[in-house]
Subunit: 166 residues, 2 copies
């Protein structure tokens, strides 16, 4: 099934029954070493760790790198879907993401420094036969509809529950 | 080196030369299939894909699952660091994260629906010999200093550059 067909079928299904638009994604895992974390998403397991300067054994990319992986992959896939939706030919796409982090926030050395990224930069290189204007049109549609770009740029409520030992 | 020693050494180093607090994390990659994306963070490669209902071959967790992996792992590691910093004994930690997504945002079926998560829930189960009050104290410190929780809850600027074909 082409992505265009998939999009059209989803639109018909959701128009008939809007509750079908609502999805829940989940992961669960454990701290299995000093800074080593195993996470499971459906059948997939991902190992996260810190490099030695941050106390770990570098057994996987670290949490903020995973946040950039989420952003870069979401952009790439949203380009693919919206290219199909807009009838723009997309042969390939390279992407690079980088984020600035001031570790004084994480370590609590300075309460005026935020814990998270202070700035993030994305560079996207689409390839294909279309004009620069058409790829810019695609980029604008992607940026309005990319779930992880939205997560970065706008506040998202996170409810936390601590299940403390009895 | 214990995490407490690592934290103290970082504090001395950064107090002497604050520029050493500034880190840049980066990833780069390619759309290598219909929705399959290979991303590289230093020596680590992570494959991201969509499940068949979203057009992919399910070769990896999808982008929004990776965002939850980033959040859950960052919380777990921040618990480890802040337990060391506060002198709270932490034997283990289980974590679960889930996020609600209304796919009408991503597909562009309804411009009043945001593309990203509309709500996220975290459940953290620390284990060890401390009292419930001490683990709650730890949770409060973690939530004020966790980089990816900050990313979720607060806006982060993302500059985008499209390198269009000549």
């Amino acid at each position: 099934m082409s992505l265009k067909t998939l999009i059209d079928e989803n639109q018909r299904t959701i128009a008939a029954d809007p509750i079908k638009a609502k999805a829940v994604f989940s992961v669960h895992g454990d701290l299995v070493g000093l800074t080593e974390v195993d996470l499971h998403a459906r059948s997939h397991t991902v190992k996260v760790d810190e490099p030695p300067p941050l106390g770990g054994d570098d057994l996987g990319a670290n949490p903020v790198e995973h946040a950039l992986i989420a952003l870069a992959s979401c952009q790439a896939i949203t380009y693919r879907f919206w290219a199909a939706k807009l009838g723009i030919e997309l042969e390939g796409l390279e992407i690079a993401a980088e984020g600035d982090l001031d570790v004084r926030g994480f370590f609590g050395f300075d309460d005026y420094v935020r814990a998270g990224f202070t700035a993030v930069r994305l560079e996207i290189t689409p390839t294909g036969p279309e004009t620069a204007e058409r790829y810019q049109e695609l980029a604008d549609a992607v940026d309005a509809h990319c779930p992880v770009l939205d997560l970065f740029m706008n506040p998202t409520t996170v409810e936390r529950r601590i299940a403390v030992p009895a």
